[in-house]
Amino acid sequence: MPEFEPVLLANIGKTDSHRRSVYESGGGYQALRTMLKDKSAEDVTNLVKESGLRGRGGAGFPTGVKWTFLPKDHPGPIYMCINADESEPGTFNNRILMEDDPHQVIEGAIISCYATRATTAYLYLRYEYPLAYQRLQQAIDECYEAGYLGKNILGSEFSLDMYLHRGAAAYICGEETGLIESLEGKRAWPRIKPPFPAVEGVFHKPTVVNNIETLACVTHIAARGADWFKSIGVPPDPSNPRDPGSFGPKLYCLSGHINKPGCYEAPLGLTCRELIDDFGGGVWKGRKGKAAIPGGISMGLLTEAEFDTPLDFAGPGKVGCLGLGTAAVVVLDDTVSIVDFLHNSCRFFAHESCGQCTPCREGTSWSLRMLERIKAGRGRLKDLDLLLEIGDTIGIMPGTTICGLADGAAWPIKNAVRKFRDEFEDYIKRTNPDGWMVTEPVEALEATGIH
């Protein structure tokens, strides 16, 4: 395999990397010119389909295939929603792209709109990214000046408007139909699917929702071709006919107890241990790793013994995690109490559950209350079974909720309790010597961490 050359982070670190002139001096917007001049919308869709690009937002759905779900010959308008509501704990790769190389993202967005015949793009940006807001607005203004946005882009028949839309600090807006509801000015309650957004999305029109890094990948696929993209990463597992493979470069976020936290670009399929040791300089303070979140907190936990798991779309699932997610690795060293970890996770999801589906609203809230009680030294062994019961019954996989937030809440519970059960039992017995064996209902503690 040839030496890997980073493309997504290639401009990061250059002076004024966020300005159009710097981006253009490195060949920026040439791919857009070529696509508009030489390729039809179908050609571009087919190119992205052939590349095997899978969405980088967490679900990993093949991007080109998603585009083909749009109705054929629709009179329009078709909308593009760019999902920049990056809120998954541990994840910051999209922030880096938007702050330091926004034109790379916008070029990919314009090409993707051309392919999908979208005429208006809304970039839904989380409120917590004020610098990204400023840089993106400047980049969009620069694009209108240069004729990359607006009417008849670069003299073609294609016209596109792009607007920034700021969120208001709600995790659920990263769920694509929650995002659509929020964009429409409503509470961000995810929609029941079908209909999928491609058929009926924002303002009752066909809508494509794509992640920031996904669109940045489209830029490079347009510039370098599908074969280049497929030369990087992991081909499909021949024993699994449903595996579309994990192609292309990926931005890995690394944080927590690590010597060199940061955002690193590598071919999909890098192992968690390689990321920690080769990129992150190892676990901090000379300590050993205890566990790691493989791709944002929703994905669950890898134990230290599972650190050789490849971080591609199929890897984390093989050791009981939910999936690759956002490829954001958070390292826990061997001094971390697993009770504290799970308490933090449960508090996050209890706070961010949108409250629409009862199993999620109640399940996340009660799991936090139980963790508060365990942490306070009043836990019982039975609580572990109750936690697992919640974990096994909330989410779209057991079929009890509308969206996947609850699956994300469930996975850290299931992984932590099943992979570290001994530690939980020891903690409960040690801190509650008189009550750990009680199985009768007990009073809940006041939940302090929800709001």
Partner: protein
Amino acid sequence: MADSSRILTDEMVAEIKAFFPRYPSRQAVTLPALHIVNEHLRHVPMQAVVEVAELLKLHPAQVQDTLTFYGFFKQDAPCGKKRVWVCRSISCALRGGEEVLSAMCEKAGIHPGETTEDGRLTLEAAECLGACEQAPCMLAGNDLVGNMTTESGQEYVATLD
């Protein structure tokens, strides 16, 4: 403006109306409008909700419904001049984020979610601010402050204008 009981200034109304051409529906201007009011008043009082609804041709209840979904918009009293969010999610918590928040609260003499009596500072716990490589971090107004310690947090509170 002639009617003195109105809260939205002409300037705010003009800013809100500038968003109308961007969307095929007026309701989609709800969040931008709430942000505009919040930027000016540091909260969104009920009277502002009524006036925003009027502009967007909605019932006040529709705007209020959206507003209350986002804990972001305060309604009863303005936020402090500086609104500070200290991250408590996992990457920051692993590197002392909760201790930073506690130390800052102690220095300011308030609990998380409260505003100092002089109205200078509102301190809130935040979920992941997306700056985990700089953990523990906080967002102070528009400024991201990373690699914090309890000392640097307290110093921030002590030296705030």
